[in-house]
Structure formats: C-alpha cells, structure tokens
C-alpha cells in the first residue's frame, strides 16, 4: 500500500500492522534519543547554549532582509554566483540551467532536505539529468524508489535485510548478505566511481555566514566533500533562513547540532566554503518557497529557526510508532508537522493532529522552538479555516450540543451506562475508533450526580 496517499492516521495503521517492526523502529529511535541525552549531559552549559542559539536565530529572523543582502554581497566578492528562487519550480529551473550550462547530464548530490521539498530529483530526471544521491541512507532509499523517512537517518525504516536485498538487486552484492560493513563497502566502491566522474555536485547548506559570505556543510561520511572537491561546478541550495550573522556564532551551533542529532560531539566533517577552488564554479541558490509567508505568521515564524537535527523526531512517541512516511511530507515528525501546513494547508491539515502534545519535542529542541505549542495553534487555525477532518467537526458539534444542555447531558450519560452494561457490542466493534486499541471501561452503576443526591439525603 502506498502510504503517501493516506492521511497520517491511515498510514500509521498500515505501519502498525507489522508489530515487531514497529517495536524495532520505536526502540532504535529511542536509542538515538538516549545518545543525545548522554552527549547533552556532558556539556554543563547545555541549557545556556540552547538559549544562545535560540536568541541568535531570533535575531537572524528579525534582521533577515539585511543579513541576506550582506551575505549576497560578500558571497559575490568571494567569487560565488548567487541565485534567488521564489518557489520550488524556480529553484529546480535554476539548478537545471546551471547543469545544462556546464554541458553535463549527470549530477551527484549530498543530503539536502530542501531539494526533497522541491522534488528536484523528479524534475531533473524528467529533463534527462541523472541524479545520484551520495549519502548512504539516501542512496539506499533512492535505489528503492522511496523518499527519505527521516531527515538525518533517511533509511531508518529499513532493516539490514531490506538493504541487503536492495543492494543485491542494484549493486550486485551477494544474495542474502546483511553485514552492514560489507554492504557499506559495496556502496563506497559504487559511489567512489560516481564522485570521480561527475562534473556537477550539489550540496545543502547547514549555515550561511552573512559576515563572510561563506557557508558550512556538515557530514559524517565525507560525501559532500568528495562530490564537490572533484567537480567543476558546486551548487549549494539553501532556504533563506539558514543565514546567521557571524562566523563566531558557529561555535554555538556546531556544539549543539551533532549532539542533538546523533549524540556525536561534532560531525566528522564540518566544511567551510568561501571561494571556489581555481577553475571551479560555485553557485548558491537562495530559496523562499513559502518561508517569507511563514516569517509573517507571528505564531509560527519560530519554526524557521530549525537547524534540522531531528531530535524532535527521535523523541516523538507518535513519530517513533508511525514512521516517517505517514507524514507524507519531505520533513516528517513534529517539526515537519508545523512546517508543512504553511506549504499546503489542505494537503497537510492532518499533521498537526499527529501529536499527543506531550511537549518532549520542545524540550529537546536545540534552538528552543515551541513545537508543541505551534502544533496546538495550527489545530485552531486549520479548524477555523475549514480544513479540520470532517468526522472530528461533526463529533465536536454533537458534543457541544449535548454539553450545553444539562437535560441532554444526563440522558446521554444514562444511555451510555446502559449501553456499556447491557449491549457492549454496540461500542465494542470496529466502527468505534476508541475500541480499536483499547478495552472499554467498566460502566459505573450511577452517575456522580445521582450518587450525590442519594448520599445527601441520608
């Protein structure tokens, strides 16, 4: 079943059909969360770092216009070509244009959630450009024709047996082989050849520095570096919110990013790009795609502070038990659920409801985004705008009528107790969503009101 065509709840039901797999998914992500906790605990000033990161990002959002102008000027001085894209389509056209101008029909790409959001691979493939994703996890899901299910761990929904089957089919590894070391080595050989033969390489951007006109790309595998240092053309794609004021602020963000993401003290490579190497072309594409609209929503603009560490995904009890695909959006999990309604309110109206509002996401966020508050606020907006789920709207209206009238309320209580006692089958069936994963409660003999009246008499 194609989970991407279902709403979150529907896709979660599909995902939950394989119970051992759900348990494994849940435990694996929780393991990553505990690694994050250990790493954070080793930094005594962790909470102050989060506060500093939050404030630097608040400042950046409030001064975005000037920071972007400053960044552009300095990047141009550095010999970098700067492009601006209002939406996904313009971004894709710009990238395609650069590839065509380079006379290439193939490109290697390291991780960039922005290009997922813009569906760049589909666009380029339709226009006859072959794209190979070089992050191991992304390459695995690309070979399977799937999108990433997690922004940091793209293949977290797969077991090593799944990867073994995929590599056997596409890379010719031994049938039944599941050793991660062996499979990774196969991917290393396959991608090394790709790195050595591509003229154009695309990377994402973790941080863009206004003061110096450069940008930072973080990877553990070294795939971003391998791609661009061997290519004639380096394209870096960034949402405009990636800009920070000064290089010294990187100290705060690089201390937080990998610790929050995987519990590592820092990524293996934190590469700072300022000028193309001799003979190389360097391009930056700065993308809006709804971000300026989000910047204008006071309740939701803080979502643009995100540094894509995925700590909120790893900690989320709903994400861990429903899987990345159930969010049908490039960025899954709690942060994706507050970003996606801005992109398309109708299509993503289900996502802010895919949460228990427990607040764990906000507690682990390294830049202190009030994620669970925003999930709650999106629910209000979506219901007001008429995008709420139909069944919920009808149920809420009925409930409001009953709760407004003491007589109706008493009657409903009596009927409910009677039904639970004498005809449980009317609620203990598959048409009652409350019954699918729960036992119905023992009905009390009388209501509190009746009890009170009876006891007051005696």
């Amino acid at each position: 079943m194609n989970q991407l065509s279902l709403d979150h709840a529907g896709a979660a039901i599909e995902f939950n059909k394989n119970e051992p797999r759900v348990d494994w998914h849940d435990e694996t992500l929780w393991f990553v969360r505990t690694k994050r906790d250990r790493a954070a605990a080793q930094v005594p000033e962790w909470e102050q770092l989060r506060e500093a990161a939050s404030q630097i990002k608040n400042y950046s959002l409030s001064n975005m216009h000037d920071l972007l102008e400053q960044f552009e000027q300095n990047a141009i001085k550095n010999g970098i070509t700067v492009h601006w894209a209002a939406d996904a389509d313009e971004h894709n056209k710009i990238v395609h244009g650069i590839i065509q101008k380079a006379g290439a029909d193939r490109m290697v790409k390291s991780k960039s959630m922005l290009t997922e959001e813009c569906h760049l691979n589909d666009y380029l493939t339709r226009h006859g450009i072959e794209v190979i994703d070089s992050d191991l996890g992304e390459r695995i899901v690309q070979l399977r024709g799937e999108p990433p299910s997690h922004i940091v761990l793209p293949a977290i929904h797969l077991t090593k047996a799944d990867v073994g089957d995929t590599f056997h089919k596409h890379l010719g590894t031994d049938a039944g082989a599941t050793d991660p070391q062996y499979l990774t080595e196969a991917a290393r050989q396959h991608l090394r050849d790709t790195f050595l033969t591509r003229k154009v390489a695309l990377t994402g951007v973790n941080f863009a520095i206004a003061e110096t006109g450069g940008f930072v790309v973080c990877t553990n595998e070294g795939n971003a570096d391998m791609g661009v240092h061997l290519a004639d053309v380096h394209i870096a794609a960034m949402g405009f919110e990636k800009v920070i004021p000064r290089a010294e602020h990187l100290g705060v963000f690089l201390r937080l990013l990998a610790r929050s993401a995987t519990g590592q003290p820092i990524t293996t490579f934190s590469s700072h790009f300022h000028r193309p190497r001799p003979g190389q072309e360097m391009h930056i594409v700065i993308v809006d795609n709804g971000r300026s609209r989000q910047l204008g929503r006071p309740d939701f603009r803080n979502s643009l502070k995100c540094i894509r560490c995925a700590a909120c995904l790893n900690t989320c009890p709903v994400y861990r038990r429903s899987g990345g695909f159930s969010y049908h959006s490039a960025v899954a999990g709690p942060i994706g659920s507050i970003l996606a309604p801005n992109l398309d309110m109708k299509l993503n109206a289900d996502l802010p409801f895919a949460s228990t509002l427990c607040g764990s996401c906000s507690n682990v966020c390294p830049v202190k985004i009030d994620i669970h508050d925003q999930l709650y606020k999106w629910r209000q907006v979506l219901m007001q705008e008429g995008y709420g789920p139909g069944s919920k709207t009808a149920a809420m209206k009925t409930m409001a009528t009953v709760l407004e009238s003491p007589r109706l309320y008493r009657m409903a209580g009596k009927i409910g107790r009677g039904v639970l006692r004498f005809a449980p089958v009317t609620v203990e069936n598959k048409f009652n969503p409350w019954y699918t994963q729960r036992e119905m409660p023992e009905p009390p003999a009388e209501s509190f009101r009746d009890w009170y009246i009876n006891n007051k008499k005696s």
Partner: protein, 194 residues
C-alpha cells in the same frame, strides 16, 4: 521586479521588529587536561592518538604502522622520505589512488576532538576525504578547550576552504550499525607532539 527584489521585499514586510543578539554566546570549558580530553574523545569517535616526542619519532612510528604501504603523500618536509606521491597536483582526480595522506593540523579542539585544516595545509581540498588512510600531526600547545576558543583563533575565510575533521569518516545508515570508513578516510591517526 526581479525574484531577488520581490523575495527581499516580502521578507522585509514580514520580519518582526529587530530583536537583540544574545549578550552571552561563548562559554568556558574547564578540562583538567586538554590533551587527555582530546585523546578520550578521539578514541570515542573511532580515531587513534599517539603521543610522540618529535618529528623523528613520528617518522619511525609511521614507518612501523604503514609498513609495505605505497601511494603515500605528505605535506610535511621532514617526512618527505616516506612519500612516493605528490599532493600538489593540478587535477584532484590524480589523487584517486592515494592510500595514505600525512598532513599537519594547526588547531585542535579538546571538547570534540575536531582538528581544523584549511588550504594552508591542503594542497587539494579533497585530500583528507579521498585518501584511504589519514594521519594528522598536531601539537599539544595548539589544543584549545572548546569550539568558541577555536573560532577565536581561526579565520574561516583566510583561505577558500577549511574544515573541522573529527575522526575517520563513518555511517550508521544501515540499521544504526556504526561502520567506520564511509566515503572519506577509513582511519585517522593523530600524532600529538609536545
């Protein structure tokens, strides 16, 4: 109106009124022994450290460690006799067969075992990634406590490219099983001089 001007106009119209930058965004890390901290973290991330008294000892150690290996290149003049390849090639693709690169790191960070290198150390940017094995030589006197201290010392745009390297390349993309040696170097040995 160009896309650029329209985007900037939208941003200007929608951004909130200016908020202050934080007054505190650098912090002090008090490690009792910076070298010890560096070595512990380097070991944790899959690298190896060795403390050696001088460059002669480095040479001897590397000769023993990489016995029989060819396609070795270095930027360190004192170790030139170990090399049989050049790093300052015109085309980085010429480094595809590099087995061992020996370079120097001007600054290291105790809190996370990251070593800064830029184009002063790298004749080609791809050297620390394309090589099969990587050796970086650092000095104890250049280990700083944390990243705030590091950014005070380096100038990120002194050259066109610079990177913090922390351990060998790695991935855990297959079932969260850690595999050392993804696309970059398969091993990192850090030689620490006084």
């Amino acid at each position: 109106m160009t896309t650029r001007d329209q985007m900037l106009a939208n941003i200007k119209a929608n951004q909130p009124s200016v908020l202050p930058l934080p007054t505190q965004f650098t912090f002090v890390s008090a490690f009792p022994d910076l070298t010890r901290q560096f070595v512990d973290i380097l070991t944790f991330v899959g690298g190896t450290a060795v403390l050696l008294p001088d460059m002669d000892a480095v040479k001897k150690h590397l000769q023993e460690q990489y016995i029989g290996l060819s396609s070795i290149a270095t930027t360190v003049p004192a170790l030139a006799s170990l090399s049989d390849m050049k790093l300052d090639v015109a085309d980085p693709h010429e480094l595809a067969g590099l087995n061992l690169a020996i370079i120097e790191g001007p600054l290291a960070v105790a809190e996370n075992a990251a070593i800064w290198v830029d184009e002063h150390q790298l004749p080609q940017r791809v050297v620390p990634m394309i090589t099969q094995q990587l050796v970086i030589i650092i000095r104890q006197s250049t280990i700083v406590p944390n990243m705030h201290d590091a950014y005070k010392q380096i100038q990120v745009d002194a050259t066109g490219f610079g990177t913090f390297i922390c351990g060998p390349s790695k991935t855990a993309d297959i079932e969260q099983s850690l595999v050392i040696g993804a696309h970059g170097a398969r091993s990192l040995l850090v030689c620490i001089l006084p």
